[in-house]
């Protein structure tokens, strides 16, 4: 009885905590494989032996459903991501929008909008603020939200639009200063999960995540839950 589950990188830490709880509760072993959503989609299409998938967006789970490569009806939103403008330097982004408008920084890190849902959201937010064009030559793009965070964390980019789950623990920043972007600046970042094979323990795990205990853990890690 082992469960193999593919998980989008940004949800890795949270998924680990969920798995730990689940294992404690049921005695089932959960094996988590992390990767970018694009890669995992390709892998699943080519026969990857996962039983469930926690993607980083809704687009690719929907594609799978259309192609009939999953247990139909199992798709659901397990978390909703929030975008924060974050800098490890205390005080730098206390006044959120202002610093973006002033442009007193050399690099702003975002995730690649083509690949990462957080990147797409970042783009939408900057467009809403009317800054997307003017900031073009200061943008540095991470392939995924993890890499984007590293650009900022190592100080190579002064600030970045990263996932709230990366910088907030129980509502407080782990380090530095942040600005939680208003949710209306971008479309919601719906992170959806699907059951790929109708395997009993995988189904149980999805149920566990959607349940009370699961939602609490997800909330504590900086996501919103539907």
């Amino acid at each position: 009885g082992e469960v193999y589950i593919a998980v989008a990188s940004n949800f890795a830490e949270t998924a680990r905590q969920l798995a730990l709880q689940f294992e404690k509760k049921t005695g089932q072993k959960v094996r988590l494989s992390f990767g970018s959503t694009g890669k995992q989609y390709a892998q699943i299409r080519h026969g990857a032996p996962f039983q469930a998938w926690f993607a980083a967006d809704a687009r690719r789970p929907m594609l799978l459903e259309k192609e009939g490569r999953m247990v139909s009806g199992s798709r659901f939103t397990y978390a909703r991501g929030r975008l924060v403008l974050w800098s490890p330097t205390p005080g730098l982004v206390d006044d959120g929008e202002k610093i973006l408008r002033q442009g007193s920084f050399r690099h702003l890190a975002v995730a690649n909008p083509r690949l990462a849902p957080y990147g797409l959201a970042a783009r939408q937010a900057l467009e809403s603020l009317g800054l997307w064009q003017s900031l073009q030559d200061r943008l540095v793009r991470g392939e995924n939200i993890g890499q984007t965070f590293q650009f900022v964390k190592t100080g190579n980019a002064e600030l970045g639009l990263v996932a709230a789950s990366q910088v907030l623990r129980d509502g407080m920043p782990v380090q530095g200063s942040y600005w939680l972007l208003p949710a209306d600046l971008h479309e919601p970042i719906e992170q959806q999960a699907v059951l790929l094979k109708n395997q009993v323990h995988a189904r149980e795990f999805l149920e566990f995540v959607a349940g009370e205990a699961g939602r609490a853990i997800i909330l504590a890690n900086g996501y919103e839950v539907p």
Partner: protein, 226 residues
């Protein structure tokens, strides 16, 4: 200090690198030998082909391998027709990918080494009654020793550090296809820097000691005139 899963990943990496290097040497040696000796007019076409996989980014190479090995790809169908199952997401698949990707690092140094052995020692051995196979093993191999050392080191180290191909066709499944390079990457992505540092440091130290031993044993004898 090192989690069980990390140790498993390290062992898997060593197994993969060892096996890949072994296969590379077994495939690469006759190929390099042939390339070094052949007078075929279009030999250079093959030489160019061997180096070709290098120019693709590993993940992309991995993607095409995935397509080929997956149940709908040519290799996958062949395997299924033969009663086997798809090689994607298996250890065997990792080995195939690594072999393909590291081939030039083994073939090229070996080819150079065989070329610099020259014809004369082989001719002498033939006059002393050594068959082609015999003189290959008793003369060409030992004289090409520096080339073998380089090929082995490059092949082994490159496979240890390989990541893109392995991630793509392996699917990062703990205990099955999660190798140490992916494990470190996961930790970095999951912001578990501490853990990543420890494993990276351990891997570096281990590799350094290994390389040290290899190179030390290979020291040239002093006082040789040529």
């Amino acid at each position: 200090m090192f989690a069980e899963q990390d140790v498993a990943a390290l062992l898997l990496s060593l197994k993969l690198a060892g096996l890949t290097t072994l296969i590379l040497l077994m495939l690469g040696t006759p190929l390099a030998w042939w390339l070094a000796r052949s007078h075929w007019r279009y030999r250079y076409v093959l030489e160019a082909l061997v180096a070709l996989p290098l120019v693709l980014p590993p993940t992309v190479l991995g993607f095409y391998l995935l397509v080929a090995l997956g149940p709908e790809g040519p290799v996958g169908r062949l395997m299924e027709a033969l009663g086997g199952s798809s090689l994607a997401f298996t250890f065997a698949g990792l080995v195939i990918g690594s072999v393909l990707y590291s081939l030039p690092f083994v073939v090229q140094p070996l080819q150079n080494a065989f070329q610099s052995v020259g014809l004369r020692p082989m001719e002498v051995a033939a006059t002393l009654g050594a068959s082609p196979v015999d003189r290959f093993f008793s003369i060409a191999l030992p004289l090409a020793r520096p080339g073998f050392l380089t090929a082995t080191v490059l092949g082994f180290a490159h496979t240890l550090g390989e990541f893109g191909v392995v991630l793509m066709i392996g699917g990062n499944i703990p205990g099955r296809t999660q190798v140490i390079s992916i494990a470190i990457y996961d930790h970095v992505e999951a912001l578990a820097y501490e853990r990543a540092h420890w494993i990276a440091a351990g891997l570096l130290l281990f590799s350094f000691l290994l390389l040290l031993t290899v190179y030390r044993l290979n020291r040239r004898l002093p006082g040789a005139r040529t």
